[in-house]
């Protein structure tokens, strides 16, 4: 019996009707993409999902991808919006609940950015400098650049003077724009969204290179709980978000089209890059 089941059962035994009737909230873990500090977006998403599921949804945020991955694996959360990289890292234990569609496709790119006035034209120009990564478990914020370096026969430790992990794509943009690091690896979706909602921040940066299109960070749940009614209902709620006004409003804030069922083959590109690192 899990904790909520225990509380519910105990409540029933003690004759506490309020607690019995209140269904335990569905806990959704969030990685700190760009929305980690936007309370309005989080609240709108929670409201929309709660309405779609007809059950309360609680959004859980952690600082690092690793922490969120751990919470989903240990059952602390029922599902999580994670990155394709950790999804593939734990592919055997996770199941796909949906993939957001951005600008018509469930894919995004990783951007290599520098300060606006920096003359760099490619990754090779950044040798010996300080570089900002988002998270060591982020595809766009680490894996893409690390695998690019692997293709160049080197790695971040050797190629860069120092790697700074900011644990947030928005922070990568801040680090580069503020001059803390010369360059950064950032989620293309986050950068483009920031360019819309916080143009002053992205204006201080310049995109040097864009990666190939890769699978958009998916919603995932533990594979062994995929058949649970709550999880199934959550998957349906996600994929039906665009059907309700509240869901539509949340998607609009996130600048996403909808959430589709998706397919693990979407992440083949990421898998290939993972293989390059492992091979390197």
């Amino acid at each position: 019996m899990n904790r909520r089941g225990f509380i519910a059962g105990t409540g029933a035994a003690l004759g506490l009707p309020g607690i019995v009737r209140a269904e335990a909230a569905f806990r959704l873990g969030l990685t700190p993409v760009f929305l980690d500090n936007d309370a309005a977006v989080i609240d709108r998403l929670r409201t929309a999902l709660s309405a779609s599921m007809a059950a309360p949804v609680e959004l859980i945020q952690r600082r690092t991808y690793q922490e969120i991955t751990a919470t989903i694996l240990d059952g602390s959360v029922d599902a999580a919006w994670i990155c394709g990289y950790p999804f593939l890292q734990h592919r055997d234990r996770l199941t796909l609940l949906g993939v957001p569609v951005w600008r018509g496709q469930p894919r995004y790119q990783s951007y290599l950015i520098v300060r606006r006035d920096d003359p760099a034209t490619g990754l090779a120009d950044l040798r010996g400098h300080v570089h900002a990564f988002s998270d060591p478990d982020s595809n766009s914020g680490y894996l893409v650049t690390a695998s690019d370096l692997a293709r160049m026969g080197t790695g971040p430790e050797q190629f860069l003077s120092r790697s700074v992990f900011t644990y947030g794509h928005r922070n990568v943009v801040r680090a580069v724009a503020g001059g803390l690091t010369r360059s950064g690896s950032v989620d293309g979706y986050v950068w483009e969204t920031l360019a819309r909602v916080e143009p002053a921040l992205t204006r201080g940066t310049r995109i040097v290179t864009r990666s190939e299109w890769l699978g958009f960070p998916p919603f995932a749940a533990r594979a062994d709980r995929a058949a649970e009614a709550r999880v199934v209902r959550f998957g349906q709620a996600l994929q039906g978000l665009d059907a309700s006004p509240a869901g539509r409003a949340a998607l609009d804030l996130l600048l996403l089209d909808r959430v589709e069922a998706g397919d693990v083959t979407l992440f083949d590109g990421i898998a290939a890059r993972m293989a390059e690192i492992a091979g390197g």
Binding site: V130, A175, G178, G179, L180
Partner: protein, 472 residues
């Protein structure tokens, strides 16, 4: 300059002294105010720096320990954005090796650059001051975690407002003090000028150019200050007394001439009486021998000589009586007149008169005072010399001017007589005024009196400086 300062009017000197004292007071007070302001500002600045650094130190300690560049930067960046007043210009955090972890402006302090460039002239929070005139001050503090120093923090604080505040305060004090000093100096000048007005009035009426004091009109007395009014009233009384004394002296001198003549009157009566017997005999002779022309002619000659002598005596007496002080200059005739007046006195007393006039130039001296001086001294000598004694009168020229020496074989000048003649000491009553008048007249002519008594002979020597060349 300082010597000239002493000649400035007292009103101006008091005003300047007031201004100088006010300037000193103003400087001392301003220094005190600025010093207090500086202390308050520094205390505020130190408190601000301490709170800022301590606040950051708490937040940054763990990140610095783990050398988490991003978290240090993020904390600094947010602290900078949240800082009120914009006093924090720049903050840099370094690890325990002195290498920069992050700064609010990474362009100035790149990651891994040495922090020493910034820490070199930074001060601990307890020492930071805005009193050096710098608009930016640097503060440094160690970052500690559980008693272990894990890095350091250097912050640049903008103290432009504090420096400007000090400058504004200094200028305000300067302007205020200058205005107050000016006002007080002016007020001091006016007050002192008003207070000293009666004193200046007094000085003016005392005869600044050596003139005689003259009374102050009652209308000019201060109404409010009874002490000063009493002083001025006393001064008026004094001025009146001086005038009265001068008038008395003038009358005394006038009278002295008659006194001298009075003293000579019996001698002069003889001078007139003696020829009268001869003249009457001559007229009897003319009557008796009217038919003898040679007898009549001899008698007429005798009458003529006698009458001429009488005429001369009368003229001298009248001359002496009429003599005034603004009259003519001294001439040889004056000495002849003196002799004519005085000689009968020595004749009466059987005294030998040695009369020597050895002057060609009378020095442009006035006649009346010299005659009075000589006559008084001669009468004094005749009185002093015994019957059948000796009286000498000698007048001759010296390098200093005209020297008159009156000698006698008397017992010499008594103490009181000498005091009257030789000193300014008040004359004792009852001693006569002849000798004191001699002293005053000689003083008036700018001359000197000397006294020489030896071998039974007393010499009074008068030296009168010449006023100009004039033949006697």
């Amino acid at each position: 300059m300082l010597a000239r300062l002493g000649t400035w009017p007292i009103t101006l000197r008091v005003a300047l002294a007031t201004a100088a004292l006010m300037v000193l007071l103003g400087m001392a007070a301003s220094q005190q105010v600025l010093s207090t302001l500086g202390r308050l500002q520094d205390a505020r600045l130190q408190e601000y720096a301490r709170l800022h650094v301590e606040g950051l130190a708490v937040a940054l300690g763990p990140f610095t320990l783990h050398k988490d560049v991003w978290e240090v930067y993020d904390t600094l960046d947010r602290a900078q954005a949240d800082a009120a007043g914009g006093r924090i210009l720049f903050t840099v955090v370094a690890d325990d090796r002195g290498q920069v972890l992050a700064a609010t402006d990474p362009a100035r302090a790149p990651v891994d650059s040495p922090v020493e460039d910034f820490a070199r002239d930074a001060r601990p929070t307890s020492d930071v001051t805005a009193g050096n005139g710098d608009t930016v001050v640097r503060v440094k503090a160690p970052l500690t975690m559980q008693g272990r120093e894990v890095g350091q923090i250097v912050t640049e604080l903008d103290v432009r407002d504090l420096v400007a505040q000090r400058r504004t305060a200094a200028l305000a004090l300067l302007a205020g003090n200058a205005a107050v000093t000016l006002i007080l100096a002016l007020a001091g000048y006016l007050v002192v000028a008003r207070m000293l007005k009666p004193v200046e009035l007094l000085a003016h009426h005392m005869g600044e150019a050596g003139g005689r004091p003259h009374p102050i009109p009652e209308a000019a007395f201060p109404r409010t200050d009874s002490v000063l009014a009493r002083l001025l009233r006393n001064f008026n009384g004094m001025a009146g007394a001086i005038d009265a004394r001068a008038e008395a002296e003038r009358r005394l001198a006038e009278r002295e001439r008659f006194v001298s003549l009075g003293r000579l009157s019996s001698s002069l009566a003889h001078e007139i009486n003696n020829p009268l017997g001869g003249l009457l005999n001559a007229t009897d002779t003319i009557r008796a021998y009217a038919d003898r022309p040679e007898v009549v002619r001899q008698s007429a000659d005798l009458v003529d000589r006698g009458l001429r002598h009488l005429r001369d005596v009368s003229r001298v007496i009248l001359e002496e009586k009429r003599m005034d002080r603004s009259g003519r200059l001294l001439s040889a005739a004056d000495f002849e007149d003196l002799r004519l007046l005085f000689e009968p006195e020595t004749t009466r007393r059987g005294q030998q008169l040695d009369w020597r006039i050895e002057v060609a130039d009378c020095g442009g001296l006035p006649s009346a005072p010299v005659r009075q001086i000589a006559l008084n001294l001669l009468l004094n000598a005749a009185s002093a010399a015994p019957e059948g004694g000796f009286v000498g009168f000698r007048c001759h020229e010296t390098a200093e001017g005209l020297e008159i020496v009156v000698s006698d074989t008397g017992p010499g000048l008594s103490g009181s007589a000498r005091a009257r003649l030789m000193s300014e000491a008040p004359a004792e009553p009852g001693g006569g005024v002849g000798l004191r008048l001699v002293r005053d007249l000689v003083g008036g002519l700018g001359g000197d009196i000397a006294h020489d008594g030896s071998e039974g002979r007393t010499d009074i020597i008068i030296v009168l400086p010449a006023k100009g060349a004039r033949t006697c």
